[in-house]
């Protein structure tokens, strides 16, 4: 088992990474302070892992469960309200601990419920997808979507611990494995060029879930994320680099309807747009762009936006993004491969061309 710490003063917490550790009770005991536990999961994960976790924890705690419908379309205020109802019906008080057992949607909603149930109770992340293991379970972003925008409602709220069981990846559909790999590749692009090189070498083994290598990739991703979050918990500055490809990506997700494109897929296509714009600004070489596209493709990820989007739909959706400050669209771009910057200083013409060329390419692929 590997352990690292997210260093946030009195809100610091450990991340554990290991095979089968979802059944390591001591890790949970360290993070649970009261007698009540509410496990929040979804109807895909529940049949796989819930009974064993309930059995393990029931020895020492009053354990209740809340099983949500699976899917990003259910990441809403209504579903969040249903977690609150479950907590109240089972008479949980403010010493309860919420465990998020599932992917990013479960983690975001259970975390938001923890942040706001009786004005805040402790919670533990047990992420079961690669995406949530390397990204959403670390750093304290919690929340739900609004019909007018993704993650528009939420809170910064840190867990007591993150328990990453790599064994759960064996049950993950391959499309979701790819989606998670988009965020792994992102860390290479924004802050770790040697990791990017390593990923180019190891992607075939990673995609076939070589256990040591996937643990390495998760550990290195979490170190990168923890390092950025420790510098800027509430995204006042450098944390924004974690959003490489996300502003473009959110536009794609929103336009297509939540859940039709997976988050990681939208981030992959969005990251390629950001890489392309960085190249247009002279920051990257032709080879950098090619290597980036090849690596996303090696992880079976889309590298072009949906064919039915338009320049206008991108601009309209991006204007609502949280990264827009006082009307200025700020983007995460690359200064070089492995080094990101956040800037609103880019030529609008390049921005437009970048999207228009990508849409053109998407059209020719789809008609061929």
């Amino acid at each position: 088992m590997r352990t690292l710490t997210v260093d946030l003063g009195d809100r610091s917490y450990p991340i554990y990474i290991g095979n089968g550790i979802r059944q390591n009770k001591e890790l949970f005991d360290d993070a649970i302070h009261g007698k009540q536990v509410m496990i929040v999961t979804n109807d895909t994960i529940a049949p796989l892992y819930l009974d064993a976790m309930v059995a393990m924890l029931s020895v020492d705690y009053k354990v209740d469960t809340c099983i949500l419908p699976d899917g990003e379309v259910y990441k809403t205020l209504e579903t969040y309200g249903s977690i609150m109802t479950a907590l109240l019906e089972a008479k949980h008080n403010r010493t309860t601990t919420i465990i998020a057992l599932g992917g990013g949607v479960v983690g975001d909603m259970a975390g938001y419920a923890a942040a706001t149930y009786q004005r805040g109770v402790p919670f533990i992340q047990v992420p079961t997808t690669l995406l949530s293991q390397v990204d959403s379970s670390v750093g304290g972003k919690t929340g739900v979507n609004h019909p007018l925008g993704k993650n528009m409602i939420g809170a910064f709220y840190q867990p007591q611990a993150v328990i990453i069981d790599t064994e759960t990846l064996s049950s993950l559909p391959s499309r979701e494995l790819s989606a998670g790999m988009a965020e792994v590749i992102k860390y290479g692009l924004i802050c770790d060029a040697p990791f990017f090189d390593w990923l180019e070498q190891e992607m075939p083994d990673l995609m076939s879930l070589d256990n040591d290598k996937i643990s390495d990739a998760i550990y290195r991703s979490c170190v990168a994320k923890a390092n950025v979050v420790a510098q800027d918990e509430r995204e006042g500055g450098i944390r924004a680099i974690l959003n490489l490809g996300h502003t473009f990506g959110h536009a794609i997700e929103t336009e297509m309807g939540y859940g039709n494109w997976l988050h990681g897929e939208a981030v992959a296509a969005g990251s390629v747009l950001a890489v392309d714009l960085s190249w247009r600004m002279g920051n990257l070489t032709d080879q950098d762009v090619e290597r980036s596209i090849n690596l996303f493709e090696a992880a079976n990820l889309p590298v072009l936006p949906p064919v039915n989007m338009t320049l206008d739909s991108f601009i309209e959706r991006m204007a609502l993004d949280k990264k827009v400050l006082d009307g200025n669209l700020r983007l995460v771009l690359l200064d070089s491969l492995g080094d990101a910057i956040v800037t609103s200083d880019f030529p609008m013409e390049s921005f437009n061309d970048c999207i228009l060329d990508a849409l053109e390419a998407s059209k020719s692929v789809s008609s061929s």
Copy 2:
């Protein structure tokens, strides 16, 4: 104008108290950092004060408004969702500032919206009722009700400033003035015996809104609250004393349906129950009890619970209260007049007798 500071490190903020200061633009300028402002108010307050505030702020900011239906029954996740929709439809970004113009319900909901819109934006409290001026606008408690319990959903989130305009009290219905006075009296009971004495002398002038005296009472209440909150922002300990009468009171409010008993009315009747239980435990004299009852009555407040409640309904409602820790009912009681304690160490028999006798008294009053 009087000013005091709630001392919470980098979350410290000023409270201003004065006549007509809702139109003092400089106070707002100091607290607004971006260019967008969303004023959240309700349909009772909007006709009185909204246009003037919009006119004042529109000089320098893009001002939008969100007018909620008035009343505790609308303090729900649904109404909260409508504030989020208003913010998104008007394209507010994370540099927006939310202004809560209204009573406690508006302040709690606008504050909760501020705490969670795009994971947190600044907000300013402009409380227009006595209750919100002396209590809910100070200290950072925000949230909404759930059908199964009051204030069960929310966050601790501090405002940038609290701007208390005593002039707004002139439009306040007398029943609401009384309700606010319940919290003022509470400060005397829990931590300021000389203030309690002063209130006994000045209650007639306070009820007729003598401007200097009401400013004194608000100032002294805010000092008491700020002092407690500075010691214990997230209610891990001493802050709980602010809940004198509230555990009983929440049971009354929930049982009667939100809004039928005003919060302050329930707190008054609940405080008398807490005073009575403290007397049964030998902490208070007969005279202390009599003085307490007389002071609440001088403010036209109820001192007995609703006639249709039962011991069981109290116990059932109180078991869900946030103040219940691991199944132990903890209550705020008085150690002496002007000194509160939080304890779960009281004889259940005294607790039961206290409620049963009060219900008996309520019955005989109602049948007489």
